[in-house]
């Protein structure tokens, strides 16, 4: 953000546009200031989320998908988004804002790699999902505990290693044993994971990257809603 810009004097549509631009550029401090300014003008937290942060993250997602932005830039945008969400999240909870769905996501047992998983988490949050990010090295109990606690629509599992990706099958099998597999959308991803593996273990889809994860989640959520 240009230091000369005074956001207090800015019309609301320009303020939102600036918020989107600053999120795109990864300027966390500026995004925080703009979120606070928008709230101070009477916008609801949900309006700031959707018209500011989500709209900005949408552009990031498209440019990431199209190869205009790369992982470092998207990570910076995600950090800016996160900074804005720290302000909005409690307000959204208070106001009972609508959400697209709930995602529980984690890197599976034996794996500490989380860059891609965190990108998915932030972009899903940017798309309006409530995201419970379990972090790294999650065993089946961790996933099941989160399912019990948060009643998610989607389970996301990530692995970077061929030695750890088979653990995804353990989680899917446990969902089947507990009779809840059909209640959940299961998405998997990570460098060694492909469509054939996803199908083989009984996941719903393999997501090549964070942008694909958002598209897939939205599509499968729409199908889930249609089925009731």
């Amino acid at each position: 953000m240009n230091d000369e810009v005074n956001i207090k004097d800015m019309p609301i549509d320009e303020l939102l546009e600036l918020m989107q631009d600053d999120l795109y550029d990864g300027y966390a401090d500026e995004v925080v200031a703009e979120v606070n300014e928008a709230l101070s003008r009477g916008m609801t937290p949900y309006e700031v989320l959707t018209q500011g942060l989500v709209a900005g993250m949408d552009i990031v997602g498209v440019d990431f998908r199209d190869g205009v932005l790369f992982v470092p830039e998207v990570l910076m945008a995600a950090k800016a988004m996160k900074a804005g969400m720290i302000i909005l999240r409690p307000l959204l909870a208070e106001t009972g804002a609508p959400k697209v769905g709930t995602l529980v996501i984690g890197t599976v047992k034996g794996d500490i790699h989380d860059i891609g998983k965190n990108l998915v988490a932030m972009m899903m949050e940017g798309a309006g999902f409530e995201v419970i990010n379990l972090g790294i090295n999650n065993d089946v109990d961790s996933f099941m505990g989160a399912i019990d606690a948060h009643n998610p629509d989607i389970i996301g599992m990530s692995a970077l290693l061929t030695t750890t990706m088979p653990y995804m099958r353990t989680v899917v099998n446990t969902l089947k044993e507990k009779g809840i597999r059909r209640d959940l959308i299961v998405l998997v991803g990570g460098a060694p994971v492909n469509d054939a593996f996803a199908e083989d273990i009984g996941a719903d889809a393999c997501c090549r990257d964070a942008a694909v994860a958002v598209e897939t989640a939205e599509k499968l959520m729409a199908i889930k809603r249609e089925k009731g």
Binding site: G26, F70, V71, P72, E73, L75, M76, K79, G110, D111, I112, H113, D114, I115, N118, I136, N137, L160, L161, T162, T163, A191, P192, V193, N194, A196, F197, R208
Partner: protein
């Protein structure tokens, strides 16, 4: 009978060293190592080399890891009947099962090779955006507990630089000398294989 090696740039110097040692009639043609940051580019980039080279060489051998293609590289090679050095990544080509043993010992192990030490600025700092966004260092490395330098031909300068990298990343460094033996064995086996493989 000239053999064309389609190699990852991270393995070029070492493959050339082995070719020279055996006096093979062979050329090496590189595919950018930086593609491992964009795995979807690897198979198309290798295929482009195959198409450009198959008329000129009696045999092609690929020395590139799967590197996150999720099997796409092997599917491409299978279509042309071309073999590659086995291994998910260059660490495995140099160190074999030791890589898994080290990971089992400490999940948070981050690996270096001679190439990565030599080209740290380009492949890691620039490739991962740390030159532009130094604050991402914590995002990338916070779960790592140690660096293991799988060393091929480590001279004093490389070992010193590996120490500097470890200091920059604030991680302890362990140096394991792998040499080129495992990679060399694989190349020997492939060179003893069929004359024309496509």
């Amino acid at each position: 009978m000239t053999t064309g090696f389609i190699i990852c740039g991270a393995l070029g110097r070492e493959v050339q060293q082995i070719i020279n040692r055996y006096g093979w009639d062979a050329d090496i043609i590189g595919v950018s190592a930086i593609h491992h940051l964009f795995p979807q580019r690897i198979a198309p980039a290798v295929e482009k080399r195959i198409l450009a080279m198959k008329a000129q060489y009696a045999r092609l051998i690929v020395v590139y890891g799967d590197c996150g293609t999720a099997g796409a590289l092997d599917e491409t090679l299978a279509r042309y009947g071309i073999k590659r050095v086995a291994g998910l990544h260059c660490y495995e080509m140099y160190a074999g099962n030791l890589v898994n043993d080290l990971m089992a010992e400490e999940l948070g192990t981050w690996f270096l090779t001679d190439f990565l030490v030599r080209k740290f600025e380009g492949t890691i700092l620039k490739g991962m955006g740390l030159d532009r966004f130094p604050e991402l260092k914590a995002d990338y490395f916070r779960h790592y507990k140690r660096i293991v330098y799988l060393a091929q031909n480590p001279d004093e300068a490389l070992q010193q630089k590996a120490q500097e990298i470890a200091a920059f990343l604030e991680l302890p460094l362990e140096i394991r000398r792998t040499g080129l033996d495992l990679l060399e064995q694989q190349l020997l086996t492939l060179m003893e294989g069929s004359v024309r493989n496509f």
